[in-house]
C-alpha cells in the first residue's frame, strides 16, 4: 500500500508538470467543451421543447441543467481517455519502458495517471457547478447533492482512466479506443440524449459505460431527487468489474510484453 501511494503521488505530480503546465492548457480544456455545450443547447432550442416533457425536461432551464450535467460528466471521462492516449507518446519516448523497469506498483501507475489528469477535472467541476447553481439556485437539493456527485464522478472516472491506461499498455494500435470513446460513449451513455429514449439494442450497449450511471446519479441529485438503490448498485458493480478487468489486462499485458518485447518498440 505504501508503494501504491508513493507511486500515485509521483504520477500525479509528473502528469501535472508534464502536461498541464500552462494557462493555455487550462483554458483550452474549457473552451471546446463550452462551445460543444452551446451548440447542443441551441440545437435543442430550435425544436419544440414540449416533446421533452416525457423525459422530465419541462423548461429551457431543465434542458440547460440536463446538458450541463452531461457535459460535466462526459468531459471528466474524456480527460481520462486523453490521459491514456499520452501513453502512446511515452511508448515512443522510451519513458514507458523506464517506468516498467522499476518495481513500482502497476495499479499505482495507472490510477496515479488518472488522478493526475482528474485534477484538471476539478476545474470543470467548479465551472459547471457554478452554472448549475446559477440556473437552479442554491436550493438544498442541488447543494447537498454536490459532494455525492463529485465523489461518484471522481471515483468512477479514475477507475475508467485506469482501465483505459491498461488497454493502451497492451498495444501501440489501441488508438481505436480513442475513437470508440468519443462519439459512441457520448451517445450511448446519454450525455445529450436520455438513454431511455433509445432503441433496445443501444440501451443494452449503454450498460457497459460507467458514465451512464454517473449521469443517472448526477441528474437525480440535480433534479432534487435521490438516486435509486439499483442505480448505486449498478454503479458499484460496473466499477468493481472495471478494477478487476484492469488488473487482469495489466497482468496479461506485462506478461505479453515480457515475452514479445513490445514495450520497447518505438
Amino acid at each position: 500500500m505504501k508503494m501504491f501511494l508513493s507511486v500515485c503521488r509521483g504520477e500525479i505530480k509528473k502528469q501535472q508538470r508534464n502536461y498541464f503546465n500552462s494557462w493555455s492548457t487550462y483554458i483550452s480544456l474549457l473552451v471546446w467543451p463550452v462551445l460543444t455545450l452551446a451548440v447542443s443547447y441551441y440545437s435543442y432550442l430550435s425544436f419544440d421543447l414540449e416533446v421533452l416533457t416525457k423525459i422530465g425536461i419541462h423548461s429551457a432551464d431543465d434542458l440547460a441543467v440536463f446538458l450541463l450535467t452531461g457535459a460535466l460528466c462526459y468531459n471528466c471521462f474524456w480527460l481520462m481517455v486523453q490521459s491514456a492516449f499520452f501513453m502512446l507518446n511515452e511508448r515512443e519516448n522510451g519513458t514507458l519502458e523506464m517506468v516498467f523497469m522499476t518495481p513500482a506498483s502497476r495499479m499505482g501507475i495507472l490510477y496515479g495517471r488518472s488522478l493526475g489528469v482528474f485534477n484538471q477535472g476539478i476545474w470543470f467541476f467548479v465551472f459547471y457547478m457554478v452554472m448549475v447553481m446559477v440556473i437552479r439556485g442554491t436550493d438544498a437539493g442541488t447543494v447537498t447533492g454536490l459532494p455525492a456527485v463529485f465523489v461518484s464522478l471522481l471515483v468512477s472516472a479514475v477507475i475508467w482512466g485506469g482501465f483505459m491506461n491498461a488497454v493502451f499498455i497492451t498495444s501501440r494500435d489501441a488508438s481505436f479506443w480513442f475513437i470508440l470513446c468519443d462519439e459512441p460513449m457520448k451517445l450511448l451513455s446519454g450525455v445529450q440524449l436520455p438513454v431511455t429514449v433509445m432503441p433496445f439494442i443501444l440501451r443494452a450497449l449503454s450498460v457497459i459505460f460507467p458514465l451512464t450511471y454517473c449521469l443517472d446519479i448526477a441528474r437525480s441529485f440535480f433534479s432534487g431527487a435521490v438516486p435509486e438503490d439499483t442505480v448505486w448498485l449498478k454503479y458499484i458493480m460496473i466499477n468493481l468489474l472495471l478494477i478487476m478487468l484492469t488488473g487482469l489486462i495489466l497482468r496479461l499485458a506485462e506478461k505479453h510484453n515480457r515475452t514479445t518485447g513490445n514495450l520497447q518498440f518505438y
Partner: protein, 324 residues
Amino acid sequence: MIEATDLYKNYLIKSGHIWKRKKESKEAVRGISLAIRPGQITGLLGVNGAGKTTTIKMLTTMISPTSGTIVIDGIDAVTNFMEAKKKLNLITGGERNIYWRLTAVENLEYFGSLYGMKKAELKSRIDEVLKIVDLEDQKDIPVEKYSKGMKQRLQIARGLINDPAYLFMDEPTLGLDIVITKSIHDYITKLAKNENKGILITTHYIFEAEELCDFIYVIDGGKIIASGTPQEIKLLYRPKKRFRITAAMLTDETVNTLKKLNDNDMEIIISQESHSFEMKTERSNVQKIIGVLRKHDIDISNIETVDPTLEDALYDMVSGERRG
C-alpha cells in the same frame, strides 16, 4: 553477483499483410551464460544484431528468456522479477527515456517515487546523484534546454536514483563528443571502483571497452564467441600485425597496383592525405609492398609496426566466425 546461465530468446516475427500473416520464429540469443560481479565493469561487445540488446533486456528483467536462468544475488530474476528490479537500473544512450518538459529534479523525484522512496531519503539521494554527474547548477532547468551531454548525465543520475547494486549501460556514450565521453567514462569508473557497482556495458566503440572493461564477452549471432580480459582477448586471437608505411604522395597507378595485391592475407588502408597507408598482413608481405613502391619510384620515409588493438582482435574474431 548476477549469474545468467544458458539463456535463449526466441521472437515470433510476423510478416505479410493482414489477411495472409506469416509467423516465423527467430532465435535472437542462443545459450548465453555470463556473470557480472560487483565492483567490476563487464563489457558486452558485438556488431549490430548480434544479440546485445536482447541480452541486456533479459538481464534487466524487461523481457523474459525463452529458457535459461538469471540469478541476481540469490534472487531468481525470471520468476521473481519485481524483487530483482529493486537491485537494477538501466541507462541507455541517446536523449530518450526522460521527460523533457520536467527539470532534472522533477525527473528524479518522479523516478525515485517509482521505487517507493520516502521524501527525505529521495531528496538527499537526488542531491547526491546530481553531484556525481555535475548537474547541481542546472537542476531546475527543463531538460529540453539541456545539451546532449547534460541529458546523458541526467540519464546516469536517473539510473543511480535507486542506488542499484547493478547498472546496465546500453551504449551510454552514443553520439557524444570526445570530451563528454571522457567525463562519462570517469563517472562509470568511479561508480564501479568507488561505489562497488556491478556494471555491464554494451558499446560499439571498442576503445571504450578497452579503456573501461575489466572483463569482456564478445557476442555474435546470439552466442558468446569469446570472453576474457581485454588483454586476453587480444592474445587469444592474435590478429595480424599492422604496418604503417609513410611514403611520398602515391599516384593512382601505384594505388591500383597496391589494391591488386590485396588478397585474403593482406588488407591495405590507404590514407593519401597523410602520405601514409596501413596494412594488416604477415611480415613477409611487407616485402611485396616495398617492391611495388620501389618499382614506382616512391620514396619510403618510414615503416613502423602498429600493435594490434582490441578492435583488430574483434574484427578478426567476428569475420572469422562468420566465415565459419
